[in-house]
Symmetry: C2
Subunit: 212 residues, 2 copies
DNA sequence: AAGTGTGAAGTCTTTCACAGCT
DNA sequence: AGCTGTGAAAGACTTCACACTT
């Protein structure tokens, strides 16, 4: 399969489309047009078609898309046709919240381990099969549980250190919630979810708007 | 002040630059070049200069930027030279975690209220001056506390309802953590932080990578 | 000599508009 | 008649490269 460079924005929209389709499936809708999807998720219909066109022809001209079929295609494209094992490092409020976040489990992301350095947190039971463990078991757990995704929820000053350990242990992708720019090898996929940046964007647009 | 359309990416990078500058200030650095900032945050030096150029000329040719001065400029640009009052609706694990997230307070975002419908959660004390309140006080609290930013951390099925209430009450901007596409009037600023979308992006790139 | 500020070029992304199926 | 799939056009963003200032 020759894959052209896919815009990141396209992949993110696919994820959104797929969730909209879940909803349509729940409502028993069988067919849907690009225009209807577009309306449902707030983009243009041409955008929807272009996004899908990167991966093939999933619709029928004059008719639209079969909801169930399109959903399956997108889930496969996103690599969500089977589970991913996840490790979270940092069992603070945020890490703990993410560890039991239902939205992840629903989409096939299984949090297999939650680590921290704080002795007070170690041993805390968050769910039937999830107990906070010391960070010393990181490498062992990554290997035993076949972890491919690491989530970093430690404070900024230890984020790079934790990242290095995760990379060293062989994790292939990282989701960084710390407010630091992390350095990883080319081969490791990194995404930042900077919560403050998002609020600051609102701040900017609020300021700009009121200054008018 | 005639403001051209500023790319969203530029605003997000400014936020990142400002945090990098905080670090430099801590280290006692007085001057910094666009190249050094670029290296520190992982973008090109031309990008840094271009981003700043949208807002004025802050540097000295041949020398660079005064760290403290540039920091102040960026903070003002971002509207962070004074506080923003924030309300969080949804006191689940995520909402509660965000409510006491230090990263927000550090940057001038004050969480003045945390609401929920669940009687079991109402009354829970999260901090000295933060107790979970019933959602019925939403409008009153928005007005009394002069709330301009709402954070939505309720499950998807009530997200639109909560959003409507926040908009009705007069909130100017929303940060949506629910996995739903929200409808808001043109005048209200909306940003989505879809946690699953970010993981699914990793899933996609992992799948694509391993399929090679 | 060093490093900013910026038009111009290049690249990437979205929208347009219509041929081609059903 | 309706809606997809897609080249071509438009638009947005990034990088280049260099004149200009200290």
């Amino acid at each position: 399969m020759k894959v052209f460079k896919i815009p990141e924005a396209t992949v993110m929209r696919l994820s959104v489309y797929s969730r909209h389709l879940t909803q349509l499936i729940g409502e028993g809708v069988v067919n849907v047009s690009s225009g209807e999807i577009a309306k449902g998720v707030g983009v243009s219909s041409a955008q929807v078609r272009k996004d899908l066109a990167y991966f093939g022809e999933f619709g029928t001209r004059g008719v639209g898309y079969n909801v169930q079929e399109l959903y399956s295609h997108i889930m496969r494209i996103l690599g969500l046709n089977n589970c991913w094992n996840v490790m979270i490092v940092g069992a603070g409020k945020l890490g703990s919240a993410l560890a039991i976040y239902k939205g992840f489990a629903d989409r096939g992301f299984k949090v297999r381990a939650l680590l921290d350095t704080d002795p007070d947190k170690i041993g805390t039971k968050l769910a039937e099969d999830l107990v906070v463990e010391p960070i010393t078991v990181l490498e062992e757990r990554v290997k035993d549980e076949n972890i491919s995704i690491g989530i970093v929820t430690v404070p900024g000053d230890t984020a790079q250190e934790v990242t290095d350990k995760l990379v060293e242990a062989g994790v292939g992708a990282l989701l960084n919630f710390s407010p630091r720019v992390l350095r990883v090898p080319e081969s490791v996929i990194l995404r930042n979810v900077d919560l403050s940046v998002n609020l600051e964007l609102l701040s900017f647009y609020l300021s700009y708007g009121t200054a008018r």
